[in-house]
Symmetry: C2
Subunit: 210 residues, 2 copies
């Protein structure tokens, strides 16, 4: 979109009240225009390309194709369009899935309306707006366990195992002998109470050790 043009918004949301509420809000209290809105992705898919929106406000809980499933499809139809999720759902997995599948921002519906308009502004400027609760969830998912039973070296080696490296590759990378790597791995397995690479990775990830 060109700077001098008015940014075009499309809303995909099954609740009519919410849909019309945001439409009114955006049209009357922001410099943006809601050019169209749809109650589902299935209703939108054949027509949204012509709308050519700059930003799509997308709900997750939609009849038919879910918002998560719709994300890659919308991205394919409109590669340049920013998509902001606006939804009541906020489990860690759903949020991460939405972001992994191409959402540019994520807001929960209990956010102040003004924040949503701010979010539109931010994505248009290249930022990645998230409401504080969503941001918190994202940060938590990245956080490591500070009370790891593993030593630095063990954590490092487990990280390399997680990258798919084998013993000799790890040895080369750390400038130590393969036998030393073996010893470390044995100690890791003991501490984590496992006896295979796969189990070690599973336990390590679920305890956020790596």
């Amino acid at each position: 979109m060109q700077d001098q043009e008015i940014a075009k918004i499309v809303i995909i949301e099954d609740d009519e009240t919410i849909r019309e509420g945001y439409t009114y809000l955006i049209n009357h209290t922001s410099p943006y225009r809601v050019v169209n809105s749809y109650p589902s992705f299935d209703a939108a898919k054949s027509k949204i390309a012509k709308d050519n929106p700059d930003v799509i406000i997308l709900d997750i809980q939609l009849p038919g194709t879910s918002g998560i499933e719709a994300l890659p499809l919308l991205k394919k139809l409109l590669p340049q369009t920013f998509i902001i999720m606006l939804t009541v759902y906020e489990t860690e997995q759903i949020i991460l899935d939405a972001l992994a599948n191409g959402a540019s921002g994520y807001f929960t519906k209990n956010s102040a309306s003004a924040k949503v308009i701010e979010a539109i502004k931010e994505v248009l400027q290249g930022g990645g707006p998230m409401s504080p609760d969503v941001a918190k969830t994202v940060i938590m998912s990245l956080q490591k366990n500070p009370d790891s039973p593993l030593t630095k070296r063990e954590t490092q080696i487990l990280g390399l195992i997680n990258k798919g490296k084998d013993r000799s590759q790890i040895a080369n990378e750390l400038f130590i002998e393969v036998e030393t790597v073996k010893t470390h791995i044995k100690n890791i397995y003991m501490k984590l109470n496992v006896n295979s690479k796969a189990d070690a990775i599973t336990v390590a990830k679920s305890n956020k050790l790596i």
Copy 2:
């Protein structure tokens, strides 16, 4: 901290001008109090426990112990304290490392001063404040490549390989034969132009296919 108490802030930042600027700003335009500030973690470590701050504003570029290195140490000294990174650095790796090591929020120094006070408020309320540029970086790091050359099944299997599962475990999980898994893996290796698990994971991750 109790709600009725005034939240205590400590600033660790080597630039005196910035340190005093934020101290003044917070003391005069917010309900919070800067109870102490230090030019380095090394200067802070023996005394900060007595300050018992609710929030620490932490720079990354510090003389001696870096902000990233200081994070787990501060977490150990003050497990309940929120730490907000406030720094000029914003490479993807540094941001992710900071968050992985226990930062509750992350702001770049070009953010408006008022935003920093807002951030303090948000962490105290349990949110995870990030400036838009930082949030953008975090989201980008989570985003998958929509133009993957792999099929759904191949992506799925590569994901399981990434979890450390071996062929037979994958076969069990997907209710298909081990030989079928082998075929898929061969096709994955061809498409990614690799010939080992480790290389496949490396290529897949660097191209954000998984």
